[in-house]
């Protein structure tokens, strides 16, 4: 047996080798033709940061996002997820089979009983899709045909800060880039005279939870992608005016000289933060003319005031922020992030939620209608929702007309409108207790992947290499929710 193998080895000539080699190479080449992406992304590993030329990966449905974050977690069971079973079993204990070992917060872990609490609010079906909404949301009900209501969002966190951070950055720990920063990085700014990512805060009378600047951080991305928080006072952007005695030309000269100095330092040290700084000075200069045009509400017609409600002219209110968000978005701001605090109704929920809905219902609906009548809803994605939901059982004492609800991460409702999501649909189903998802779950990562998709970005390709690892907004998860894409 040895000999034939030896002979074979001796007789294999260069010709044999080359002819076999050409076959091998040929088959590999044919194989590569059949897998078009083979040498595009994975193989050569070009610098991924370079690849991001500020363009969507494919034709986007939406160009901009307005995220109406309802901070503190609104009760889906009192607004969207109609569960008559809870009213029928009002006061009875939540069956253990339904709870299924769900961990509890420190606030209800010591409760001996988990009495189910039916909503005291009346529900009706609205729009052609027959979406259930409670009487607290008359204006949103009016635009039911524009809304894509997702009843089956679910998250991993059970307390506010991690849940909020998860929604905003794709990770429960801090210091990852925020959603808006990812978009600013992935798509660039549309309007060079305004930041690509703006943050507006307001607070309702209900039990509030904090929001912190870590939620709109650029994380490891360049600091130009950081969210810019607008002040909630009369002047949304402070220190915009030139000081007395300094005119535009002087300011221009000053900036030019400063840029020269900065350029020199950059040549010496090469710190990218220096260029970021120069860019920010330049943008601030242009903002001096761009911002007054946006924050001037006096030109808004009276029909707009009626649409958003009169509060929309009171600075710092949710309604005013919605109106401002529309104006910013209209001017090409990629991501406008609103936070409205006060939804954390652990006790006295019926009273608190009434007040919160008074704050947000009209203005949220108005924003959608307003974008629509300008022909902008198609390219603007509006999102409304909190960081998790609230439990179907009562926290504290349950009475006929008063109850509280604890945090519930397993299923909660978020709606979207415009931006190429299906209008007038209700997606996903929860069980009759409103506790678990029975159909079409949407995890936070899936939610992120889908929104990125609407903006023309492949969530698996929007990456940034930092400290030797490639990061994504969706980490290593996330799949498109095709059922909501129009």
């Amino acid at each position: 047996m040895e000999k034939p193998i030896f002979d074979f080895g001796m007789n294999t000539t260069r010709r044999h080798f080359l002819s076999k080699l050409s076959l091998g190479v040929g088959s590999a080449a044919l194989g590569s033709l059949l897998i078009p992406d083979l040498f595009k992304g994975g193989g050569g590993e070009p610098d991924v940061n370079e690849l991001m030329a500020g363009l969507p990966h494919f034709a986007p449905k939406a160009k901009r996002v307005i995220y109406l974050f309802q901070n503190g977690a609104p009760s889906q069971l009192d607004l969207f997820d109609y569960k008559p079973m809870l009213n029928k079993m009002h006061g009875q204990d939540l069956p253990e089979s339904i709870r299924g070992g769900q961990r509890l917060t420190g606030m209800t872990a010591n409760q001996a009983k988990f009495p189910l609490a039916g909503s005291i609010f009346n529900f009706k079906q609205h729009g052609k899709s027959g979406a259930w909404m409670s009487e607290l949301l008359p204006h949103m009900a009016g635009i039911a045909d524009d809304l894509c209501i997702i009843k089956t969002l679910n998250t991993e966190a059970i307390n506010h800060d991690p849940a909020l951070t998860f929604f905003q950055t794709g990770a429960q720990v801090g210091n990852r880039p925020s959603f808006g920063a990812w978009l600013s990085y992935g798509l660039g700014s549309e309007n060079q005279n305004l930041p690509g990512f703006c943050v507006l805060l307001s607070r309702g009378k209900g039990n509030g939870q904090g929001v912190y600047s870590k939620l709109w951080t650029n994380g490891f991305l360049d600091s130009v992608h950081q969210g810019v928080q607008f002040s909630s006072g009369e002047n949304p952007v402070l220190y915009l005016n030139d000081p007395d005695g300094m005119d535009r030309t002087q300011r221009r000269k000053m900036l030019d000289n400063l840029a020269e100095l900065n350029q020199g330092t950059f040549n010496d040290f090469g710190d990218p933060e220096i260029t970021a700084k120069v860019q920010q000075y330049e943008m601030a200069f242009r903002m001096q003319t761009a911002v007054p045009e946006i924050t001037d509400m006096s030109k808004e017609p009276e029909s707009i005031v009626k649409m958003y409600g009169p509060e929309c002219l009171v600075p710092g209110t949710y309604a005013a922020n919605c109106l401002l968000a529309r104006k910013l978005s209209e001017q090409g701001v990629r991501f406008v992030q609103l936070y409205h605090q006060g939804w954390d109704s652990h006790g006295g929920l019926p009273t608190e939620i009434k007040g919160q809905c008074m704050d947000v219902d009209q203005a949220s609906a108005a924003l959608v209608t307003d974008l629509k009548q300008r022909g902008l809803l198609d390219e603007t994605l509006v999102i409304w929702g909190g960081e998790f939901g609230r439990t179907n059982y009562c926290q504290g004492t349950l009475t006929k007309d008063n109850y509280g609800r604890d945090h519930h991460p397993r299923a909660f409702t978020v709606w979207m409108a415009g931006g190429g999501v299906k209008p007038g649909i209700v997606y996903g189903e929860t069980d009759e207790f409103g506790y678990n998802i029975v159909k079409d779950p949407v995890h936070v990562h899936d939610f992120h992947a889908t929104i990125l998709n609407q903006l023309g970005l492949d969530h698996e390709k929007l990456v940034y290499k930092h400290q030797g690892r490639r990061y994504r907004l969706t980490d290593v998860a996330g799949k498109l929710v095709k059922g909501i894409i129009a």
């Binding site: 034709a59 549309e190 003319t289 761009a290 006096s298 009276e302 029909s303 005031v305 009548q373 022909g375």
Partner: protein, 716 residues
């Protein structure tokens, strides 16, 4: 051992004989029930002779000479005999199967006779193998002929099962034509229903193989139906044959498609049912349906969904050119990476010039979308816009156009979407839009067009008009005015100012505690001078709105400066504020926060001295207290004001005894008591206030002691 070949050969011979016999009497042959199963084994069996006979034929082709080591006679014989018998079985079963309904066509004719020919020829070949040695030319010819027969017959069989163009259709340009139709142009039958039928039904219901006498290729054939009658009947609950058979359980013999075939998805069944229910029309446009119609949402998924991008036929502009024309106020970008199409957005009204549009001419063949909203675009500029032939979307919201020259845009053959909200266009201009070739959506909110006229537009078929929100008939309540002063202690010469955010709103107010109304109360026009302690109440009014709720605030005339104060009884340690100093620190009336400025008492009475270095002339002492039922804070039951030159010579100047509050008063309020007395010189004032001893029965804390909160004492 080699006997088995003999047996097998005999079986093959027998089967072929039977086959020939039946062929003679084919017209009188009816397949017995039990034999049907044999017929249906045809797809299972046919692959054996195909492979085995091809293998044998190829082998024969390459054998050169008798002693060739490639020739193994025993193995070759085994192969041929297996091929022979399986060919016979296949031919026989195929013959039986062809007698089932639904197979009558040219393809079948040829397939049948080729199959029979192969089977018989194989038997003969086996019989003659000894005289037709494989290295002879004759054998090679026979083997070649067999190969041809096998390939052709097999291919025809494949066509019968999978459809005529199954094999080569992926090579053709058609692909999935439905994907490329624009949503607006898509037809329900042609682009939604037909593809489903083609994929899931046509393989058994076509020219060659019309099971149940049904063919489904065309409208005429569908309308004709099959042996079972017409396909749909909307008068029936089950919508007739087609839909009811789709809905039957999979196990049912009549379920369609039959078990084992690719089934329709749930959505496809819903689609077909909705189509039949709506009258199975063959010309209906998807876009004419309401969005909630199941057909519409199906179409969204199939046609509009999932990254279908418009295909642009023009070539891309040079990146340098695009870069060159980009400014801070004019953004030009491709729609996405690799797309030749560009969109343009303009920003900042003050920087806009008409030339900015003209300046884009080098990119006129690439620009598909332009957003000029809020720019001072004039009617003349429309002519420049008409020079961009590829424009699909044009946004002119809140520009200065008035509608003149709008017809110039008719030249734009691809213009689909035109937004004119907030411009001065009139109905006549809108009418002229109807002749635009591709226009589908127009936005007309906040234009000069009246509501009735807009109503008439909505009936238009081709163009969808978005008219937006109208406020004319909507009446809602104003928000209350804002009292600007934060401080409630008003010094000499200071005034109180108010405002309302909606310009031109009327504020009416009262100072005497009465409710302001829209007719008789004074109109606020300048800051109000405050003289004495009073409550300002104000409401806002405006035409077309309901009056606002009331806003109110207590104001106090600034008192005589207190040089020092001293608490006689200790304050509760939880609510001690800054101790005695809090009584005269000017901070008053904050009902939002109870800690920090309020002194709280529950066990003790409130008792304190106020000292003046020089005697002051005083006539009234004002005490500010808090009521907050929720926090068990009540007004005092008794207030005593003592005065004199020093703490030892005090006289009782005034006693006030407020009653126990009822349930229906406001739950949280700043309550102020004014104790007036004869004007006199005083250096020391002692104040006593007693908390509620027993909370009344209506309160949840009934029987307990109530809290007393005091934040300021003012001497005038």
């Amino acid at each position: 051992m080699s006997d088995w070949k003999g047996y097998v050969y005999n079986i093959a011979f027998f089967l072929n004989g039977l086959l020939v016999f039946l062929l003679f009497f084919e017209s009188r042959f009816a397949v017995p029930q039990w034999m049907q199963a044999l017929g249906r084994m045809h797809p299972l069996v046919l692959h054996f002779p195909l492979v085995v006979l091809i293998l044998y034929s190829l082998w024969v082709m390459i054998v050169r000479k008798p002693d060739s080591h490639t020739w193994n006679e025993a193995l070759a014989d085994s192969l041929l005999v297996i091929g022979t018998v399986t060919a016979a079985v296949a031919a026989f079963s195929g013959f039986v199967l062809s007698h089932e309904e639904g197979y009558e066509s040219d393809t079948l004719f040829w397939h049948k006779w080729l199959g029979i020919a192969i089977s018989i020829a194989a038997v003969i070949w086996y019989g003659a193998r000894k005289s037709l040695l494989p290295w002879t030319a004759g054998a090679k010819v026979v083997a070649g002929a067999f190969l041809v027969l096998l390939f052709v017959g097999g291919h025809l069989g494949g066509n019968l099962t999978h459809g005529e163009d199954f094999l080569i259709s992926p090579l053709g340009p058609s692909g999935e034509p439905a994907q490329h139709v624009a949503f607006e142009e898509a037809k329900v039958y042609e682009h939604l229903v037909k593809p489903v039928i083609e994929q899931k039904c046509l393989s058994c219901h076509n020219e060659e193989k019309s099971k149940g006498g049904l063919q489904m290729q065309t409208q005429a054939l569908l309308t004709k139906g099959g042996k079972g009658g017409v396909l749909w009947d909307t008068t029936k609950v089950d919508l007739g044959l087609l839909i009811s058979r789709l809905h039957l359980p999979l196990d049912d013999k009549k379920h369609m498609p039959p078990r084992g075939k690719v089934q329709l998805t749930e959505e496809e069944v819903v689609l077909l049912a909705a189509w039949v229910k709506a009258g199975s029309r063959f010309d209906q446009l998807v876009s004419s349906l309401p969005p909630q119609n199941p057909i519409y949402s199906y179409a969204q998924n199939v046609l509009g969904g999932d990254r279908t991008e418009e295909q642009y036929t023009f070539s891309a502009a040079s990146a340098d050119e695009v870069q060159k024309l980009n400014t801070n106020y004019r953004l030009i970008k491709p729609l996405s990476a690799g797309s030749p199409a560009l969109f343009v957005n303009f920003y900042n009204r003050a920087n806009f010039k008409s030339q900015d549009i003209e300046g884009l001419m080098p990119l006129k063949d690439q620009i598909v979308s332009m957003d000029l909203s809020k720019m001072p675009v004039k009617d003349e500029d429309i002519k420049a816009l008409a020079k961009f032939p590829e424009l699909r979307r044009l946004i002119l919201n809140f520009t200065d156009i008035t509608g003149g020259n709008l017809t110039e845009l008719k030249k734009l053959a691809s213009l689909r979407e035109l937004s004119l909200s907030g411009t001065g266009i009139t109905m006549a201009h809108v009418k002229s839009l109807e002749g635009f070739p591709a226009l589908r959506r127009v936005y007309l909110w906040s234009t000069g067009i009246g509501p009735q006229e807009l109503e008439t537009l909505k009936k238009g078929q081709k163009i969808a008009f978005e008219t937006g929100f109208r406020s004319d008939t909507l009446v809602m309540a104003l928000n209350p005015p804002v009292i600007i002063n934060e401080k409630q202690l008003i010094g000499k010469g200071e005034t109180v100012a108010m405002k309302h955010q909606i310009a031109g709103t009327v504020i009416r107010y009262t100072l005497d505690g009465s409710e302001p109304d829209s007719t008789s109360s004074p109109v606020y026009d300048k800051p109000i001078a405050i003289n004495g302690n009073l409550k300002l109440k104000a409401r806002a009014f405006r035409k077309g709105w309901y009056g606002s709720t009331q806003v109110s605030k207590l104001f106090f005339k600034e008192g005589i400066h207190v040089d020092s104060a001293q608490l006689i009884t200790p304050v509760d340690q939880r609510y001690h504020a800054k101790g005695a100093a809090s009584i005269s620190d000017g901070k008053v009336g904050d009902t939002e926060r109870v800690s920090g400025t309020w002194l709280g008492y529950v066990e003790n009475d409130f008792q304190s001295y106020l000292f003046f270095k020089k005697p002051v002339k005083a006539s009234v002492v004002t005490v500010s207290t808090l009521r907050s039922f929720g926090s068990f804070i009540f007004e005092p039951t008794r207030i005593e004001v003592w005065g004199g030159a020093d703490p030892k010579t005090l006289k009782l100047l005034k006693v006030i005894t407020p009653g126990v509050p009822a349930k229906d008063v406001p739950g949280t309020e700043n309550i102020v008591y004014e104790a007036g007395f004869e004007p006199q010189q005083l250096s020391c004032i002692k104040l006593v206030a007693k908390p509620l001893n027993k909370i009344p029965a209506w309160h949840s804390g009934k029987g307990n002691k109530g809290w007393l909160f005091v934040d300021e004492v003012i001497v005038n």
